[in-house]
């Protein structure tokens, strides 16, 4: 039996003059109902009454509203932006929730129960007791093919997704391969075409059959969608042009990882550059483990 325990002690402590997690209770209820419908129709975009948040659109207002409706006093929150815990967006969202909820925050993926992310999925595999919330700028995968909401709604209703295949095919005719490298379209549970948010296509395979619940919030467009745990998420492709993820010739310059997503960092103005893990926690954990084993060897 699954039991979820509760300790409301810090509920009223840290939030000061704000309601817990900033949003009012009626808004949370509306978002919670939308989240439940999103889970029951995987990949379908549920409209919701998005609120004005104390930061601008494009800074994760959708993800913040989802997180605010889910978070409880027992949660341990991690916020990442492009894989990093220490970039502006991640730092400000983390401190927003620290201030309005008083929950514990962490940078360690394995320690977190709730992870809000902009544009990456952590390298450390997620577990059943974790929920990941994606910040979504444009939720509609068909938007650049069909600007009218009335039409895209109909296309989703009829599962009319041929246009997206044509777009990928045009890439092949022009470049010899599918050139889309992020926000790569997926089919969820064999039915809905979904934008995975601007994660690199490197992360797409992690969404498939993931044990964790994945929630998506788009603040400006006022849409919520979800991928339940253990659900099929398939990247669109062709038999003769199967889906492929990015690869690098280099290993991470810091930790030497050969299987993580690497960022290119310019180091000087003479063409110097290095490739390092985009997931700062993953890179740091590997370095810590490396240092620890070095120490053991020295001691022996």
């Amino acid at each position: 039996m699954d039991t979820i325990s509760q300790s409301p002690d810090n509920f009223h402590a840290a939030s000061g003059s704000y309601n817990f997690a900033y949003l009012d209770e009626q808004t949370k209820r509306m978002i919670r109902r939308a989240l439940l419908k999103a889970i029951t129709i995987p990949g379908y975009q549920v409209p919701f009454g998005g609120r004005e948040m104390p930061l601008s659109y494009g800074w994760g207002t959708g993800g913040i509203q989802v997180t605010a409706s889910v978070i409880g006093p027992e949660d341990i929150l991690k916020v990442i932006d492009q894989g990093a815990d220490d970039t502006t967006n991640a730092v400000s969202i983390r401190s927003f929730f620290a201030k309005t909820t008083g929950v514990e925050t962490t940078t360690e993926t394995a320690e977190a129960t709730l992870i809000q992310t902009r544009h990456r999925i952590p390298e450390t595999p997620l577990r059943e007791d974790q929920v990941i919330v994606y910040q979504v700028p444009i939720p509609e995968p068909l938007r650049w093919l069909e600007p009218r909401e009335t039409e895209t709604r109909k296309m989703h209703g009829l599962a009319e997704y041929g246009g997206m295949h044509v777009r990928l095919y045009e890439d092949i005719t022009r470049y010899g391969k599918i050139a889309t490298s992020y926000d790569y379209p997926v089919i969820v549970n064999g039915r809905y075409l979904m934008r995975p948010s601007p994660i690199p296509k490197f992360d797409n395979p992690k969404m498939d059959q993931n044990p964790a619940l994945q929630l998506f919030g788009a603040g400006r467009e006022k849409r919520i969608y979800a991928v339940p745990p253990y659900t099929s998420v398939k990247s669109l492709d062709f038999e003769d042009h199967p889906f492929e993820i990015q690869t690098w010739d280099q290993d991470c310059a810091i930790c030497g990882s050969t299987d993580s997503f690497l960022d290119e960092v310019i180091t000087d103005d003479a063409g110097g550059r290095m490739f390092v893990c985009s997931d700062t926690d993953y890179c740091g954990q590997r370095m810590a483990a490396h240092d620890a084993s070095d120490e053991t060897e020295t001691n022996q």
Binding site: P8, F11, R33, L36, I39, I41, P47, G72, G157, P229
Partner: protein, 200 residues
């Protein structure tokens, strides 16, 4: 049509954290269909209402969620309870309800009467909260598979009409339209979203 104040049972003792906690339970149950989840809040709901059903209702209902009750006479106290604490209107036609509280699934009229949404807006569909005597994990029961279920699992849900599962299976082909169900038995409950495939 509120009854005397002393008949009215209290809602959440601490509404903000209690609603959040109850919601996480429902979120978990809907994410992992068929897993028996415990609503551990100490509530004193009306006698006709399960602990779990009361907790779910208090955390999700408000003026935006018209409710339908299968046996208005039996559930009169429950109707008042949700009207007072949540401000939810109750409707006489099941097709107009966002949520339905079913206290006797053996007598439940067909699932067809509930709103299944449309192909373009399948989220505008009803959620049923069905109170049953007992939910147990056992191999002789129905087998569930689909999103949220790693390995098919078997459950026995007591108190359903013989035709219930046939009707539920008939809805599967209508996806994305459909209805979502929560079964409650005392403080235990499970989620059965429309995506769950049921074999009897």
């Amino acid at each position: 049509m509120l009854t005397d104040a002393q008949d009215l049972k209290p809602g959440f003792p601490d509404p903000v954290p209690d609603a959040q906690w109850a919601f996480r339970g429902i979120l978990h149950a809907m994410s992992y269909p068929g897993r028996i989840t415990q609503a551990g809040l100490a509530l004193t709901p009306p006698r006709s209402l399960d602990q779990a059903a009361a907790a779910i209702g208090l955390s999700l209902f408000d003026f935006d969620t018209p409710l339908w009750f299968d046996r208005p006479a039996v559930l009169a106290e429950a109707t008042n309870f949700f009207q007072f604490h949540c401000g939810s209107p109750s409707v006489a036609t099941p097709g107009e309800a966002r949520f339905a509280i079913v206290s006797d699934a053996a007598q439940l009229i067909t699932l067809e009467v509930f709103d299944r949404g449309t192909d373009e807006a399948p989220d505008r569909s009803a959620t049923l909260i069905i109170q049953v005597p007992e939910i147990t994990e056992q191999a002789e029961g129905v087998t569930l598979s689909g999103p949220g279920i790693k390995e098919p699992l078997s459950l026995c849900i007591d108190g359903l009409s013989t035709d219930f599962w046939r009707q539920r299976r008939a809805l599967q082909s209508l996806f994305p339209r459909g209805i979502d169900i929560v079964f409650t038995a005392g403080s235990r409950f499970i989620g059965l979203p429309r995506t769950t495939l049921v074999e009897t």
